[in-house]
């Protein structure tokens, strides 16, 4: 389950050569935590085999044995996560359970225990918040942290990264991989290259040397199609990509090409965006297997809507526009949006709109690979005092206590303890 990236990231127009003052001032006004003038220190913390490791921790007898969590062994269940012992058998997430079982006869298969994972995820986030408020969760098991301003308080970014990794190990008995770099893009790669238990620091001066030998597939956003295209052009490493001209890439891949070129050159000005300053809040999930079943899709979508609404309320935001994202089996992606008359943080209201958008765009003939929903047009609660109150004939004035109660229970017992009556785990 990922927190959507693309919609919430402000695209900075400044590149490293631009240092005239007016521009920098603007930049700072717009984005208070940006620091284009100094080197930023970004951490990417990524949990190793997160779900499976939690299961091992809960039941130590599993340690060292191949373990997967996922759907049932019968039918179309798939692996959600595999521990490293299971990965040695070539088992990976998204693999059908039956196939995994064939590869390893003594494989231990566990059902997904999402409430538990969400609870642990929150504990990990609480550790992050000891060092910086600038935390951007990408999923339950990974997050970006901007620790540039924390160095004065807690020591170098490297040291903070180690403290976080140690705290996760000591307090939660789990292993994290950490990347420390001047940008989100490089930090994310850095956390990945020495998994599991990796700790990779890339200094500002080392960025290019670090990136150049890596295969282009490491670039965040370069999928199968793009990589295949590069291969046909004889581009295999990030270094080779960097030496192409920006114009040439633009002509082949448009704006996306320019974006990739900038990344290959280590240019990534995207800030760590916390929920509180986001322009939109969204969640999406990619299915291990394409889904066509309407009820199942609706259940997932409701689950995503609940999480988005919860984040809105947590940050005292109300949103006006609901955005639905569907990626079909053929990678065709559509986004549809619809606006409410008045901004809301009420789960039911958001869900009604989301569901309507979904039903307008769902068809049994088009299996769905990814589904996501988000809310934009965000307002802080205080900004809305002006609106007059027109009473409604049919609505009982929305009772915020229902959402509040659910939020409190979920905060205490894990993110999915209390859900609306429609379960995706039928």
């Amino acid at each position: 389950m990922g927190y959507s990236e693309s919609s919430s990231l402000p695209r900075s127009k400044i590149n490293l050569l631009y240092t005239d003052k007016s521009n920098l001032l603007n930049q700072n006004n717009l984005m208070p935590n940006s620091s284009a003038s100094t080197t930023r220190k970004i951490l990417h913390v990524d949990m190793d085999a997160f779900y499976a490791s939690i299961e091992e921790r809960e039941d130590p007898s599993l340690k060292g044995k191949p373990v997967v969590v996922g759907g049932s062994e019968q039918g179309r269940g798939v692996v959600s996560a595999a521990n490293y012992a299971a990965r040695k058998f070539g088992i990976h997430s998204a693999m059908p359970m039956m196939q995994a079982k064939r590869r390893c006869a003594h494989l231990i298969c566990l059902r997904v225990n999402m409430p538990l994972y969400a609870q642990v995820s929150q504990q990990i986030r609480d550790i992050f918040y000891r060092y910086t408020p600038l935390v951007q969760p990408l999923a339950l098991d990974e997050a970006f942290l901007d620790v540039t301003a924390s160095e004065k308080l807690f020591g170098s970014a490297e040291h903070i990264g180690q403290c976080i990794r140690d705290a996760i190990k000591d307090e939660l008995d789990l292993v994290a991989s950490v990347g420390v770099a001047p940008s989100k893009f490089v930090a994310k790669i850095a956390s990945d290259v020495r998994k599991p238990g990796g700790f990779v620091v890339v200094d500002h001066e080392q960025v290019q040397a670090f990136l150049d030998p890596l295969p282009v597939s490491r670039i965040w956003g370069a999928g199968k199609v793009t990589v295949a295209l590069f291969e046909r052009m004889g581009i295999k490493t990030i270094g080779q990509l960097r030496r192409q001209s920006e114009v040439w890439l633009h002509s082949h891949l448009g704006k996306f090409g320019e974006h990739l070129w900038r990344l290959a050159n280590g240019i990534d000005d995207r800030d760590v965006v916390t929920d509180g300053q986001a322009k939109s809040i969204s969640h999406e999930t990619t299915f291990a297997e394409d889904l066509t079943d309407k009820d199942q899709l609706e259940a997932w979508l409701l689950h995503l809507t609940e999480q988005v609404a919860w984040r809105l309320r947590k940050h005292e935001l109300k949103g006006k526009t609901v955005n639905l994202k569907l990626r079909y089996h053929d990678f065709k992606t559509i986004t549809r949006s619809k606006s409410l008359i008045e901004p809301t943080d009420n789960t039911d209201k958001l869900w009604q709109l989301t569901r309507q958008l979904f039903l307008n765009n769902w068809s049994a003939a088009n299996p769905i690979r990814l589904i996501g929903m988000g809310v934009s047009g965000l307002h802080k609660h205080g900004e809305l005092a002006d609106l007059s109150e027109q009473a409604d004939l049919f609505e009982q004035p929305v009772d915020p206590r229902i959402d509040q109660l659910a939020d409190n229970i979920n905060a205490r017992f894990g993110a999915s303890t209390l859900q609306r009556g429609r379960s995706k785990n039928k």
């Binding site: 009604q352 007059s388 027109q390």
Partner: protein, 366 residues
């Protein structure tokens, strides 16, 4: 195929079918009208897949056949030709050549087989009203329909038929309009359906205050209204309309009676200075007098005192002035009555001694 017709015979039916053709369509065929010729009768069909209009025209033709032509372009051409012009439409392989006097136009055409067919309306409940009755039902209520509301079932008109009455209700959640007329429909079972907003708007344009009969057919998913020259078919909104009986106040304890014209004119004047977005109006009730006032963000103000018959206690209540004016505009009686409870409850507006139409308006907190 060569079709000849008088401009006047083509124009009206073309306008009817073009009214449902969207300016931006999902597929090119939906920009077209299906033209079917049998003998001397041309049948034109336009659709947006939700609403379908079928209109008939008198023509001369050398043979029977079906073809589709761009609806709006054909209509605009007919409209721009001089009155009384004779028009010929010559259908060739992939185009139609239209001639009139010294003008010549070539239009692209698409095969009739591609034209989408709305499912046949079978096993329908069927009954008759007069055009005037149906027009009254729509005119009295349709302005209160919601527009693009999340509650999709409000984006249309509730249409209910029983053995001896037909009822229409529209509401956007803030106000509700109700109209019920007595009619011997003879239907054996009661039915309640929701007709989409677009269908209602297009259909009302065609209705006249005449005693001509209208046949109404309701099937599971569609409603069809058959007029003498036009057949209208619309999908129904699949949803449950809210219980309107429950929100029409049954026991308002305070009643105010006054001249409809006086009230409407006063509201008309002060509405000029109301907040354009929220349109809030404050009403202060006193014995035999109400004071209506508005203001806008520029701190401009308007106030009217209106003489009324009212003998209950005085209080203050806020409303969207637009909702009040909408209701007053369709009330036909000389005097109106406004039933109120307190500043938190809805009010009921209706013509004095007229129970056919009722309007419920929720208050605003100002």
């Amino acid at each position: 195929m060569k079709i000849t017709a008088l401009r006047e015979n083509l124009l009206k039916p073309l306008q009817v079918v073009s009214s449902v053709v969207e300016r931006r369509q999902q597929s090119p065929i939906l920009a077209n009208t299906l033209v079917s010729v049998v003998g001397n009768q041309m049948t034109l069909t336009g659709t947006d897949l939700e609403v379908e209009m079928v209109a008939k025209a008198e023509v001369q033709s050398d043979e029977d056949g079906d073809i589709t032509l761009p609806a709006r372009k054909l209509m605009d051409l007919c409209k721009s030709l001089p009155e009384g012009a004779n028009i010929t439409i010559q259908i060739e392989e992939e185009r139609a050549v239209i001639r009139s006097g010294r003008s010549r136009f070539t239009l692209a055409l698409l095969p009739a087989a591609e034209f989408p067919n709305i499912e046949p309306v079978d096993e329908a409940l069927s009954f008759k009203l007069t055009q005037a009755q149906l027009k009254q039902l729509f005119d009295q209520t349709q302005f209160a329909m919601a527009q693009q509301d999340v509650r999709y079932y409000l984006n249309g008109l509730m249409f209910e038929v029983t053995a001896n009455a037909v009822t229409c209700v529209a509401t956007d959640g803030h106000r509700l309009a109700f109209c019920r007329i007595a009619a011997d429909t003879g239907v054996s079972e009661d039915r309640q359906v929701i007709i989409p907003r677009k269908g209602i708007i297009e259909l009302s344009r065609l209705l006249e205050s005449s005693d001509d009969p209208v046949e109404i057919q309701i099937s599971n998913n569609h409603i069809r209204v058959v007029l003498s020259h036009v057949t209208f078919t619309s999908k129904l909104i699949d949803g449950k309309f809210p219980d309107y009986q429950q929100v029409i106040p049954a026991d308002p304890d305070k009643e105010l009676v006054c001249s409809r014209d006086a009230l409407l004119q006063a509201f008309n004047r002060i509405s000029v200075l109301s907040n354009e977005k929220f349109r809030g109006m404050r009403i202060q009730l006193e014995p035999n007098l109400i004071r209506a006032s508005v203001n806008n963000p520029e701190q401009e103000e308007a106030e009217e005192e209106i003489e009324v018959n009212y003998d209950s206690e005085g209080f203050e209540i806020g409303f969207n002035i637009g909702y009040f004016m909408d209701a007053l505009s369709v009330i036909k009686t000389e005097e109106v009555s406004v039933h109120l409870k307190d500043s938190n409850h809805s009010c009921l507006v209706k013509g004095v001694n007229d129970d056919a139409s009722k309007y419920v308006i929720m208050p605003m907190r100002l």
